[in-house]
């Protein structure tokens, strides 16, 4: 048997962060992960993260994974892959299957960071090849570099469904529609808006009737549902698709903790069956901790902070740091965690309809129902102003914990203030120099640089663009509205791509000036 100061199960954002913190404090750490690659789901996340600097905001998920892994290895953390933990019992002893042998391992403390598994829904044909989880789609395209399908229907409008839809398009797949039985979009409005403006239709209050095909999916029928989620007759719509992607939520993978005898509770606000934990993540068994999605479904950003807290907590539990040192670390991390748990999408607001922003502005109902803010609604948000000359237009309309735009603008044009969930505002008398950093830094791709009047009846709109092929200067096409429908003629007048933009290209299109506040995407014809 091998003994470690702390044994961590799961090498995702929480597990690795915990390992880093514990190793920094001088502990001998091992991390087991059943996958062949570490990083959990981070390496499948190719979008820029929300949050603030300390949450690694505006860095793409897979880069965060690389950073965490490097830090862990540099600190001498032992990461054992293809290692399946079979049991956790008694005196913090684990049996782990590694290759073709069963190893016995003991930790003076144990941190369980096993993450979550995908929920599923059933419908006729749901077992057909071609019906896949959203995670499967991400694995296929972002890790294996194979398109999961060509024409895809997405079920689920939470952040996973929205983000994966966008990623499918980035991988060159066609997304025929985004469907959700709920009457409102579940994820961030900005994630929905960047999908909607490319022309993907949203079908809220709809769900799948049937997946069609004999050997594999060849089509799908959806229909509208009433408030009791019953199909409304004669509302069926059919799509020819080869793939149906399911993104209907996550459940904590707490089985190992249950196996160990930890007190388990069912808490819908935390996403399902979770261990009872104290503020440091310690379960009912002293020395056994839980961190990340396993103790409540949240974002990877929160999982990393929870990991750090539990890493510090085990260090104190075994005497590697003092109580005072622990308190110091907790103070910093709790503040960061608290800021992530604010705003409209905070765990406490789960399932609630928030109708007004913190600023007292009516939330866009179009955004919740169709995925985009309607032209007549956009003007009421503080990031949307009209100026002479070029200026940022921030179509950020919900209170979410994110503020990289504020720092991105070195000219001080953008302000969020001390409350990270406040809507960004354009600072009076500031002067935009058209550097584009705000556009590239916005993880929600919600910032545009607009010059509303060039003097010749035309205007320019600079928009973020993360697709291939990248249109070239001089390319003619259509300006698409927020709803993804063509609204005007448009010509690409500039394409910018700098290292600091981190793969977000800045496309500047010239449109008739009456479309300056309407055209938000470009499609070459």
């Amino acid at each position: 048997m091998n003994r470690y100061d702390v044994v961590i199960v799961g090498a995702g954002p929480a597990g690795l962060s915990a390992a880093i913190e514990a190793a920094k404090n001088g502990m001998k750490v091992v991390v087991f992960d059943e996958n062949s690659k570490p990083g959990g789901q981070l390496f499948k996340q190719i979008h820029k993260f929300f949050g603030s600097k300390e949450h690694k905001a505006k860095i793409r998920g897979f880069k965060i994974g690389e950073e965490l892994l490097k830090e862990a290895y540099d600190l001498g953390v032992e990461v054992v892959l293809n290692a399946i933990v079979l049991s956790l019992h008694g005196e913090k002893e684990l049996t782990v299957k590694v290759n073709d042998e069963v190893r016995h391992v003991k930790g003076d403390a144990v941190i369980i960071a096993t993450g979550a598994s995908e929920n599923m829904v059933t419908f006729r044909g749901w077992t057909l090849p071609g019906v896949i989880g959203a995670g499967a789609a991400q694995t296929m395209m972002n890790l294996n570099k194979v398109r999961p399908g060509n024409k895809i229907l997405m079920l689920g409008s939470g952040n996973v469904g929205l983000v994966v839809s966008f990623q499918l398009m980035q991988a060159g797949c066609e997304v025929v529609g985004l469907v959700d039985a709920a009457p409102r979009i579940g994820g961030y409005g900005v994630h929905a808006a960047k999908v909607a403006r490319t022309g993907v239709p949203f079908y809220l209050s709809h769900t799948i009737v049937e997946a069609e095909g004999t050997d594999h999916v060849t089509g799908v029928t959806i229909a509208q549902v009433d408030e009791k989620f019953q199909f409304i007759p004669e509302t069926e719509k059919h799509f020819d698709v080869d793939t149906i992607c399911l993104a209907v939520g996550l459940s904590p993978m707490s089985q190992l903790l249950k196996n160990a005898g930890c007190k388990i509770v069912e808490d819908p606000k935390r996403g399902g069956v979770v261990p009872e934990v104290d503020e440091l993540g310690m379960t009912s068994i002293p020395g056994v901790f839980a961190a990340g999605d396993v103790s409540g479904i949240e974002e990877a950003s929160s999982a990393m902070i929870e990991g750090r807290i539990s890493g510090a907590a085990v260090s104190e539990y075994l005497g590697y740091i003092t109580k005072e040192e622990l308190e110091e670390k907790i103070k910093v991390n709790e503040a960061a965690l608290d800021s992530l748990r604010q705003g409209m999408f905070a765990p406490k607001n789960r399932g609630k309809l928030v109708e007004k922003t913190d600023e007292g502005i009516d939330v866009s109902m179009n955004l919740l129902k169709k995925g985009f803010v309607a032209d007549e609604e956009i003007e009421r948000f503080p990031g949307v102003t009209h100026r002479v000359g070029i200026h940022p237009v921030m179509e950020c309309t919900q209170n979410i914990p994110c503020n990289p735009c504020q720092e991105a603008c070195k000219k001080g044009c953008i302000s969020i203030g001390s409350n990270i969930t406040s809507l960004p505002i354009v600072v009076e008398n500031s002067s935009c120099i058209n550097c584009g950093m705000c556009v590239a830094s916005c993880s929600g791709q919600a910032i545009f640089l607009v010059d509303e009047d060039l003097g010749d009846g035309m205007a320019t709109v600079t928009l973020p663009y993360e697709f291939i092929p990248l249109p070239k200067e001089g390319t003619k096409g259509k300006g698409l509205g927020r709803d993804g429908k063509p609204v005007c003629e448009a010509e690409v007048v500039s394409v910018k791509n700098m290292k600091a933009f981190d793969k977000t290209n800045l496309l500047t299109i010239k449109v008739p000036k009456e479309y300056a506040m309407k055209a938000r995407f470009f499609k070459a014809v």
Binding site: S36, T139, M140, V146, Q170, H216, F467
Partner: protein
């Protein structure tokens, strides 16, 4: 080798790094895949959708979770049944067969 499903270029990852090609068989047919990629990825790239037929209902199944959890994508690999193809790396010369129940032959 049918390349249509492989992502050659990606807006975030750029040009996909070339990997060594390996040959394997799927139900006796020669297929080319990339060394070390999951068997399921090579099959999907080659257009194979059905990995197995279930025991009771004889229904087709394929990739579902792609992370080794749901076990729907299991096949017979080098004579061993129940191999999760989504997490098993492809090796030159592998013999991959459709699984029927737990056998390599359709029932009856």
């Amino acid at each position: 080798m049918d390349e249509s499903r492989r992502i050659k270029e990606h807006p975030i990852f750029g040009i996909t790094e070339e990997k060594k090609e390996v040959h394997f068989t799927y139900d006796g047919k020669d297929i080319v895949g990339l060394e070390g990629e999951p068997i399921a990825a090579a099959l999907r790239a080659a257009g194979v959708m059905v990995h197995r037929h279930t025991k009771k209902r004889d229904e087709p199944r394929g990739i579902f979770c792609a992370i080794g959890r749901c076990t729907d994508c299991v096949m017979i690999v080098d004579g061993k049944p129940n191999i999760r193809t989504c997490v098993t790396p492809l090796v030159e010369g592998m013999e991959v067969k459709t699984q029927y129940g737990v056998s390599d032959r359709p029932a009856g």
